[in-house]
Symmetry: C2
Subunit: 249 residues, 2 copies
DNA sequence: ATGATATGCAAACATATGTGAGAACTTACA
DNA sequence: TGTAAGTTCTCACATATGTTTGCATATCAT
């Protein structure tokens, strides 16, 4: 089975793709590559001539301030294109690095531009994927800016559980969270030491169990309540229709 | 002169629009409306059937956590479309509210969909505008998550000065910043009291002067240094070309 | 195996930022 | 002209989070 199926399925979560354009997407020429943990998939300043999609593994996107402080601004999971921006904005202003060993499929910009011209609903789906990314970024801002450490961590864990579970609630089981406490800190605007403290609090209160790099959520509802998590910002269900209402200020 | 010119000019900052599609954009049917300070242009849960563009005035986008904590996630200035997301994602998950009296032009989704079908470079420009918004959101995250209060405020002031000045460096002059200290606090993930303290520090150190709702930057370079501000993330110059390089991991 | 390096864990201490409560000052408007 | 509402500003105090350091494990390369 083509690894592109994974991408198309993910795109189809948010936008309707015509049968014809689905074929167009699946016929894209691609190359498969593998990257070890810690590899850069995209580097600040890069001007790639291709897009990349994660087939397996997890990656994180980060920026650095002039003082060298790092902020992780997103996590990418399989099926996601991690450098769609560079299809339209030549040079990258952030980095994407692998958290685990990753299988990546690359598609040339030329092929994607051709596709966009021929398959409007495919181009549309890429646009919508970006809009959803923007929506997730906004929730991430709310998380960093306004929630305390405990709630912040809980929210991040909820989001991962939800996304990794292919957006189907509730993800009661364990899942692998391949992030060090330092990386969690950089994602949440905290320090590793404080992550450690707070994580222990969550564990001793029975909200999560954690072994090695794995996280288990014994009581999903409880963690959701603690985090104030609401999946609405992920825009997955119900499949968006063009319902309209004229409600306005 | 059509108020749409403002929008087209802003879109053209980031993407090339063909002469023909430029006409298509300018021929969009629109309605002009006025809103008082504090009006909602978009409300969480809305399903608008039109897009809105700011002709004059300033607006802010915000989200609220279940505990009622508010986070401002973006500021919108004239020429920007504040609810492009809802063209493709039916229901809004955040609010847009005016900071000043605003003149707004609304365009029906139907007209925009028609345009997108007929004018590929116009559709493309809307996509790119969203990508730039995403890039700005990421810098905002870095600001909130990793900089201290003083640097955070300085960075926000730099970004505004830069954007309000139509992206032409250096904006030495005074400009109007129509935000209360409480709103600044909600934008930066701080409290109003702390904004007050820190603002006074910036003033007494001669980095900014401020009278009423106005801000003056006596020495642009100095503030930029204090903020660690680099306008690269705004993606305005040089006009993006399709330059390519195969640099990769 | 063996060292080298990264990560988790812990404690004591430092401080940036938050909290609560008012007073002074503006602005709007009756 | 005066009252009300909103905003700025201030103080004293509380605390969440950061800093530094050390050590115990885990992970990894050789």
């Amino acid at each position: 089975m083509s690894p592109l199926v994974r991408m198309v399925d993910k795109l189809a979560l948010h936008a309707t793709i015509s049968a014809q354009d689905r074929v167009g997407l699946l016929e894209l020429p691609y190359t498969t590559r593998f990257f070890e943990t810690g590899s850069y998939l995209l580097r600040d300043g890069d001007m790639p001539d291709h897009c990349g999609m994660l087939v397996s593994g997890v990656a994180y996107r980060h920026k650095t301030s002039v003082e060298g402080l790092r902020q992780i601004v997103a996590i990418h999971i399989p099926g996601e294109i991690y450098n769609l921006q560079q299809l339209h904005l030549a040079t990258a202003d952030n980095n994407v690095q692998t958290l685990t060993r990753c299988e990546v499929v690359t598609i040339s910009h030329a092929a994607l531009h051709e596709l966009a011209a021929k398959c409007p609903s495919a181009a549309y789906a890429l646009f919508v994927a970006t809009i959803v990314e923007l929506s997730m970024a906004r929730e991430w801002m709310l998380n960093i800016g306004r929630r305390d450490a405990r709630t912040r961590i809980a929210h991040l864990l909820c989001e991962f559980a939800f996304r990794l579970n292919n957006h189907s609630l509730p993800p009661g089981q364990a899942y692998e969270l391949p992030m060090t406490q330092e990386q969690l800190a950089d994602a949440l605007g905290l320090t590793a030491v404080h992550i450690n403290r707070t994580l222990k609090g969550l564990i001793s209160d029975g909200l999560i169990t954690h072994s090695k790099r794995g996280v288990t959520i014994p009581d999903w509802e409880m963690l959701v309540a603690e985090a104030g998590f609401n999946s609405r910002y992920l825009h997955i269900s119900p499949p968006e229709t063009a319902t309209q209402s004229a409600r306005h200020a």
